[in-house]
């Protein structure tokens, strides 16, 4: 069996006394699209942020592409990684946020070229050329010089996806990418994500879009109260949930 892209074993995360993740165990295979569903406060977003070490886990093991997140294991001891090492690993993982978090002082094109030039030390001209390609792929070839404030929410989120893809990540994390969008703009973002899935990108998506989960996901994971309640193919989890909590949740959102 090949190395899983994400391997979580009994991941725990506390904020002060509040335990948000109470032992998450799951695997994401390369090329797999996994959707995390669950009520708010169930720990989906926190788990996603743990995957690229924006949050430090308190117990358990979490690795990406076979390497521990944030630590190096020597014998049976964990050593914290240096900041530059953590940054290098984060650069291989793309992340898209609920509120887009585009850099408001840069044009769409600069948003996309910033990290390749500054972090990967790519040649500026090369970075600009591939940024144009990426923005073209997400349907924004005519918005290269627009500032985020001049774009609609859906356009901003598509720029954010292009920005993450510009680093040529091996894994993409989506944190409720359509939750802040007006209903008529959701479709254009989901279409880009669907195309990305078709191209074989490994994706972990926190979402409330049941249609997307059903059509695009290989695996749907239902989380509640910091644990995985059930996981499986969308037809099983969404179509014939085994757990009472899953059924209760689905009856509310469908």
């Amino acid at each position: 069996m090949s190395t899983p892209m994400v391997n979580a074993e009994a991941v725990h995360k506390r904020f002060g006394r509040n335990e948000v993740l109470k032992g998450i165990t799951l695997q994401v295979a390369p090329g797999e699209v996994m959707c995390l569903l669950g009520p708010s406060g169930s720990g989906k977003s926190t788990f996603l942020r743990c995957i690229n070490h924006l949050e430090k886990i308190n117990a358990g093991r979490l690795s990406v592409d076979g390497e521990l997140v944030g630590y190096r294991q020597v014998g049976d001891k964990l050593h914290e990684l240096r900041e530059s090492e953590i940054a290098r690993k984060r650069a291989e993982i793309g992340m898209v946020f609920q509120h887009f978090n585009l850099f408001p002082h840069m044009t769409a094109l600069d948003n996309v070229t910033c990290a390749p030039v500054r972090v990967k030390r790519a040649a500026r001209e090369h970075a600009r050329a591939s940024a144009r390609d990426l923005l073209d792929r997400v349907g924004l070839a005519d918005k290269l010089d627009a500032y985020p404030a001049q774009l609609s929410g859906g356009q901003q989120q598509r720029v954010a996806i292009a920005r993450a893809l510009a680093m040529e990540p091996k894994l993409m994390l989506f944190d409720e990418p359509t939750s802040a969008l007006d209903p008529e703009l959701v479709g254009e973002v989901l279409a880009v994500m669907q195309q990305l899935a078709r191209d074989g990108m490994t994706m972990v998506v926190v979402t409330h879009e049941m249609g997307f989960a059903r059509e695009v996901a290989d695996t749907v994971v239902f989380m509640d109260g910091g644990v995985v309640v059930e996981a499986g193919p969308p037809a099983e989890v969404l179509g014939a949930p085994r757990h009472e909590r899953t059924r209760a949740f689905l009856s509310k959102v469908l």
């Binding site: 942020r49 940054a87 992340m95 002082h105 044009t107 972090v119 404030a149 920005r163």
Partner: protein, 312 residues
């Protein structure tokens, strides 16, 4: 039937409303009082010979006054550069997760904001009484540079130290407010793209913080321009002290102080214009663009003749 036609007018569009304006006698009275006060001030300025406007004009471009103006500008620029650099360092220290750095920054700000800048200036001026010799080198180790405090800390350098170090404390709070104003999501985005904290600060956070930092920094610069006059107390021949040296001889205090005020006003006016353009530059991409209206109107008034020439 005719009333409906009257309202609608011929083209079907209602007529412009032409109502009798409301009388506002209060405004007229207030305006009259202001005009009266202004007129009497102008009359006294013209009639009171002791203003000695001729002397003002004579000394406005006196080489000693101009040299003093040069020192004032030099002092303002250097002290502000010291203040801004120090302010950024102190603000980053203050926000550092390292408690020692954060406390040290707090303590610095506590001292320098808590004592009058005039006292600080005098302190630096008399520093040689405290440290007759100044050695630069490894703490508790060998020193590389030895200097006599009296020759190293000239009056001008004492003024730069006093004003700059004091300004650093104020700038630190301004920069800190700017950094805090930037949305946390920007940090997440920058870090998730693989930036280090230093890159995040330099490329993402500080440029955005500028929008919050620039306006009060402009005020600080204008304030600094005026505060440099305190350096006259420690014998720095800046604008005010240059004038004082002249009127100590010829006893024309008032005309010289007016000449000095004219120069301070001219400099602050230039700074206001500079601040406007800086704010507009750092407002890029903000959803609420700075309206050029207010300033354009001003500029229109000032440059009306120039624009006509341009049109030709």
């Amino acid at each position: 039937m005719s009333s409906a036609e009257e309202v609608t007018g011929a083209a079907g569009r209602p007529d412009e409303i032409r109502a009798v304006p409301l009388r506002r006698p209060g405004r007229w009275i207030a305006a009259a009082i202001v005009l009266l006060v202004a007129a009497s001030l102008i009359r006294s300025a013209v009639e009171n010979k002791r203003f000695e406007w001729g002397v003002v004009g004579e000394y406005l471009f006196d080489h000693r006054v101009l040299a003093g103006l040069g020192v004032t500008i030099e002092l303002t620029v250097i002290a502000m550069v010291v203040g801004v650099v120090l302010g950024v360092i102190l603000a980053v220290m203050r926000l550092s997760p390292n408690p020692l750095l954060s406390r040290a920054s707090w303590l610095y700000i506590f001292f320098f904001r808590g004592t009058p800048v005039l006292v600080q200036l005098l302190f630096w001026f008399y520093i040689s009484a405290l440290y007759p010799k100044i050695d630069l080198g490894v703490p508790f180790g060998p020193a590389f540079v030895h200097a006599n405090a009296n020759t190293l800390i000239t009056a001008f350098r004492a003024a730069v130290l006093g004003l700059g170090l004091n300004e650093g404390a104020y700038m630190a709070e301004i920069v800190r407010a700017g950094i805090i104003s930037v949305d946390e999501g920007q940090n997440d985005a920058a870090l998730s793209l693989g930036m280090t904290r230093v890159q995040m600060l330099r490329l993402i956070v500080l440029p955005q913080a500028m929008r919050v930092i620039i306006p009060p920094t402009g005020n600080e610069t204008i304030s600094m321009l005026k505060t440099t006059s305190l350096a006259s107390v420690i014998t720095v021949t800046e604008l005010l002290y240059a004038a004082q040296l002249i009127y100590a001889n010829n006893l024309k205090e008032i005309p010289l102080l007016i000449a000095v005020s004219v120069w301070y006003l001219a400099c602050t006016s230039v700074l206001y214009v500079g601040q406007y353009y800086l704010e507009r530059h750092y407002g890029r991409g903000a959803s609420r663009e700075l309206s050029p209206a207010a300033f354009a109107r001003w500029r229109g008034m000032l440059l009306r003749s120039e624009r006509h020439e341009g049109a030709l």
